[in-house]
Subunit: 233 residues, 2 copies
C-alpha cells in the first residue's frame, strides 16, 4: 500500500521538487498550501492549478491570516527589498515563526490522515537566513510533534519531518528536480511578481532561483519582467 | 518597564484566569484568539467584548480555518458528545495539533512584539485527555521555539511557555480566579451553546467547569439551558 505523506506546497521550485521526491520515495503526496496574507496571491492560484499536475493526491488550502500579527514584508506594508542577497542579517521577508506554524498545521492534517510523514522543502545552504530552515529546528520540531498528538499519549509517536533539500545547493536542487522530471513552468518563486505574474528577477527568491539554474546549467523557462533572464547574466 | 506577554485567550474560564495570572505577575497581556472554524462562534464574540474588560493591553484575532483539515467534532459535522466525561479515550472534540498551532502563532506574535513570554491555560489534571495539554509537550515546544526564531540564530533563544494552571484541579482554578478578582460572567466555556448563548451543561467543557465551581464551593453565575445549575446538582 502506498503511504500517505503531507507535503508543504507553496507551488515554488523547492516545494514542487520536494513533492516529486516524496513521490519518488513511494509516498502519496497530500499537498498543503496556505493563504496567509502574502502579497503574492498569484502563488496560491498557481499552486491550485499546478498541484494535481505535479502529482498531488489531494490539495488543501488553509486560510491563515498572518497579517494579524504582522512583522514581515511578505504580510505587511514593508517594502520587499531588492538585490541585497548575501547580507548576513535575517531579511524583512522573514515571516516570524512561519515554518513552525505551517508544520504545526501539517502535523494536524497528518494526524487526521493517519500518517507520520511530513515533507518540507527547507534548505540550509542557499537560503535567505531564515532561522526556521535549519536542521536543529527541524529535529526539535520532530521531538515536539511526537508529544503533541494522540500517538504521543499512546507512546507511538514517530513523526518524521522529511527535508530532502536541506543539504543541497540551489544548483543541486535544480538538477534533482530536472532528474525527477519536474516541469519548471509549474513552479513559481518570485516574492513580487508584476500584474501579469512575471517574476521580478531581483527579490531574494528570484536571485536564489536564478543562481540555481545558472549553477545547474539549465535554462529557467519562466518569463521575467525585464525579458527572459539569460544563463550568462 | 512592564514586560509584554502573549496570552492565548479563548475567552474561557482557564484562559481568562491565565490572563489574570499574567497581570498579577507584572506582565502586560497581549491576548490572542483564533477564529478556527469552531462551531461555537459565540466564543469569539464574547472574547472580543471581554478581552479589554479582562485587562488585555491588546487583542488580536487570527483567522485560521482548521475545517480544511477536519478531524474534530469542534470543526466538522461530527456530533459533540454529551455526558461522557471520564472515558479514557481522547474525545472527538480533540482538534488535531490545535495547541501546537496556536502556540506557533503565539510564538510569531511574541517575536514581533519582542517578548519571550507566552501564557497558555492548559491543564493536565482535570482535562479532556488532550495530548497537547501535557507538561512534556510544553517543554518540547519551548526547546523548539528557541531554535525557530531570530533569537535562536543569535543564540539568545529563551522562550518561556507559562502554564500557570497545568497542575491545578478545576476547583483550584476557580478559587485562583476568584482570588484574582476574575469576573466569571466574562468567561465562556460551553462547546455547544444554544442560540441565546446559554451553556448546554452537558458537554465536556461544561461538565469540567461545573465540577470546578462545585469543588470551589462557588456558584457559577452563567446561565445554563436547563435553568441555572445548582451547587448541589
Amino acid at each position: 500500500m502506498t503511504k500517505k505523506a503531507v507535503v508543504l506546497y507553496s507551488g515554488g521550485l523547492d516545494s514542487t521538487t520536494c513533492l516529486a521526491v516524496a513521490r519518488s520515495e513511494g509516498f502519496q503526496p497530500y499537498a498543503l498550501s496556505f493563504r496567509y496574507g502574502q502579497r503574492h496571491c498569484v502563488e496560491i492560484e498557481k499552486a491550485v492549478r499546478n498541484a494535481p499536475l505535479a502529482g498531488a493526491a489531494e490539495h488543501r488550502i488553509v486560510d491563515l491570516d498572518l497579517r494579524a500579527i504582522g512583522g514581515s514584508a511578505l504580510t505587511s506594508d514593508l517594502a520587499v527589498p531588492k538585490n541585497h542577497l548575501g547580507d548576513d542579517a535575517i531579511p524583512v521577508t522573514y515571516v516570524p515563526a512561519r515554518n513552525t506554524i505551517f508544520l504545526a498545521v501539517a502535523l494536524g492534517w497528518a494526524e487526521v490522515l493517519g500518517t507520520f510523514d511530513i515533507f518540507i522543502g527547507v534548505n540550509a545552504v542557499d537560503y535567505s537566513g531564515y532561522p526556521d530552515c535549519r536542521p536543529q529546528f527541524i529535529a526539535a520540531f520532530e521531538k515536539m510533534a511526537d508529544l503533541a498528538t494522540r500517538a504521543g499519549v499512546e507512546g507511538k509517536g514517530r513523526y518524521r519531518i522529511h527535508t530532502p533539500l536541506i543539504d543541497l545547493s540551489k544548483g543541486e536542487i535544480v538538477r534533482l528536480a530536472a532528474g525527477l522530471g519536474v516541469d519548471f513552468t509549474l513552479t513559481h518563486s518570485c516574492y513580487d511578481p508584476d500584474p501579469q505574474g512575471r517574476a521580478c528577477g531581483a527579490c531574494d527568491s528570484c536571485l536564489l532561483r536564478l543562481k540555481g539554474f545558472r549553477e545547474a546549467g539549465i535554462k529557467d523557462p519562466l518569463p521575467y519582467v525585464k525579458g527572459r533572464i539569460r544563463l550568462d547574466d
